[in-house]
Subunit: 388 residues, 2 copies
């Protein structure tokens, strides 16, 4: 210690504070028929950068539901040679939640990126649902410390929520998004026509995120959703489009105004998600993310009302809207859910501090750092007994 005492006494310890901000800016475009040669949305994204090398990859579900997708991509590139240069025909890979279980598809994409010699200024054009974009986004973000990613989300959920944010990842150790990074995309282009090729169940699931953001942030949006519940339940495209754009705008605003890389613990947009993640995991993917979020919100509304935080009329308004939109709010998996374990895993995922967002009314929320387990169990029982 002799030398070190002297060291400290002489006060020769040096501390530098390193400080900087990293700026990001990217367009989020809503269009239709993105690969029609006359549609300039995609080409515009690249124009400033000259003809950009592009590797196009698609979710197999989307490729199957959209005959001729590969040809359409190719024809589009031929019509916009100044903007983009396709490195190969469209690559089709598995989509759906399974594609992000483990690293297999990420590894496969890394091999593909390496084979095509992609660099940090090359573009990966990823066409697919939320899970596919999460997985492909992770692969792109980690190759050469980040390729440019253009996302073309094709599901309701991906267009109004998952596909416009700054997160990516895959599931590991049986846990949603255990591996992942924050990586803003180069651009997002939502083609609303893709919704018409979706299975109804998948198209509907994304409505849950709209109800979520309306309940915690925007009473006017909640009124809009309530007024259009019949057309939304019937998945009519014009109403779906209005819902998606408004929901996406709320998400974008939230990210930009808040804590994009979640350096703190608060996650207000995760209303209903603590149990939703657990429900999805426990169901082995049988319950879609949006469906789980609908159940999770119903559970949290019952809880909030029982704790005197939310008026019963408002609780019922939310629950009835979810039911009218076509969501089942109960599922056998809910009965077996380890609520305490699910809270603890959510706490771990957030950071050390539990942070649960609950509605105090429609358009009004607060964060809570603990949950009353007894009331939570009785809320779960009441939800199970619910006829929906």
């Amino acid at each position: 210690m002799g030398q070190d005492d002297a060291w400290h006494k002489e006060n020769r310890e040096r501390v530098f504070w390193q400080e900087f901000s990293v700026p990001w800016r990217f367009p989020v475009i809503f269009t239709r028929n993105v690969f029609a040669p006359a549609n300039n949305a995609l080409a515009t994204v690249f124009q400033a950068a000259g003809p950009v090398p592009v590797l196009a990859i698609a979710d197999s579900g989307v490729a199957e539901a959209n005959d001729g997708l590969a040809d359409a991509v190719q024809a589009y590139a031929s019509s916009h040679r100044n903007a983009l240069r396709l490195l190969s025909p469209l690559h089709v890979l598995p989509g759906g939640e399974k594609c992000k279980n483990g690293a297999a598809q990420v590894d496969r994409l890394h091999r593909l990126f390496h084979k095509h010699k992609l660099c940090r200024h090359s573009v990966v054009l990823a066409i697919g649902g939320g899970a596919f974009l999460d997985m492909a986004g992770y692969a792109a973000a980690t190759a050469h410390r980040g390729l440019r990613l253009v996302r073309l989300p094709t599901t309701t959920l991906a267009q109004n929520d998952a596909g416009i944010g700054v997160k990516n990842g895959y599931n590991s150790f049986g846990r949603k998004n255990w591996v992942g990074t924050f990586a803003p995309p180069f651009a997002v282009i939502s083609d609303l026509n893709f919704l018409s090729t979706l299975p109804n169940r998948e198209c509907r699931a994304g409505l849950a995120e709209a109800v979520k953001v309306a309940v915690i942030k925007d009473a006017g949006f909640f009124q809009l959703l309530s007024g259009q519940r019949k057309k939304l339940a019937a998945l009519e495209l014009e109403q779906m489009e209005e819902m998606i754009i408004r929901c996406a705008a709320l998400h974008l605003e939230h990210i930009a105004a808040g804590d994009p890389f979640e350096q703190g613990s608060a996650r207000p947009l995760d209303f209903g998600h603590w149990s939703a993640h657990a429900l999805e995991e426990a169901s082995g993917g049988e319950i879609l993310h949006g469906e789980a979020v609908a159940m999770g919100m119903a559970l949290d509304c019952l809880y909030a009302a029982e704790k005197g935080l939310l008026r019963e009329e408002e609780r019922d308004q939310i629950i009835h809207l979810l039911q009218d939109l076509g969501f089942r709010l109960s599922h056998p998996v809910l009965a077996e859910l380890d609520l305490e374990g699910a809270l603890d895993r959510f706490r771990q995922h957030l950071g050390g501090t539990l942070c649960i967002t609950l509605p105090l009314g429609i358009g009004c929320r607060a964060e809570f750092h603990q949950m009353d387990l007894e009331v939570l169990h009785s809320s779960r029982d009441r939800l199970m007994a619910h006829k929906g």
Copy 2:
């Protein structure tokens, strides 16, 4: 197209520009005897956050060269219970360039993080050389989208360069850092005493990065290094310390003032690195990174002089300094190097555009987007013929 023409005509396409900045701030501390209970540097880093759960991991090379390291970490934690809480005894894992070949060690760390239920507010305390910190940093950055990483760099190179930056990664497809992310650490603490336990060759290798940053950014620093060349060549601790702190400060300033996440193509700090990466890869790790950088700089200085960019006296000053510091500037691998291929791989790594930083004088640089291959070959031949 009917509907879509109408769509475009009605100009209903919606574009949102998402824009935000993400701020970072972290301390970079130079101290000695970091685990002496009386040294508050490490504890201070956590104090504001209360007792923080910490998983400590160390490079096996460091653990072997520092008897009792695990006990010292444990004793330190016992003396600073308000600041940190060790989750387990020190974990020792392989270090050196080999630990970042492929994903095996990253996967191993992920399993360890999962076993100890680390969350985004937990801290991984990583003690080791540059390669170990790169690999561990990648594992930390991708678990739960980023655990908090406190780096304790233990080599010259890690303390004056690699360990203070914002990059991490591992080697894949035989390519350095093919997989990686940008992720600022929570804190960096350099204990200069670790240098005295390093093998001489490793201790010396880091001097190359100091010459690099001096040549391209700071003529005064170059004069300092030149004046102290004998003591530096003898690896005397006091001169090494001065060199490390000044070199680190230049790197920190460069990162903060520039483009921390390298969104552009310029990489001025990569002087000498385009061929260095190729030399390291071709030697299968036999040549240390710093040794390869010394050769790479010598090659680029010969080239710059031959192209009339750098005066011959300055070229010789740089080359003689490198030799006097104990670097060999030639190696059989250099003879076989595919220079064109190496430039192309560097271009890919940077982004589409080649960007080579060359010195125009000491403390003065410029960027070049192409290299004259004929001159480069003759520069290589002259370097091979060099007696050093």
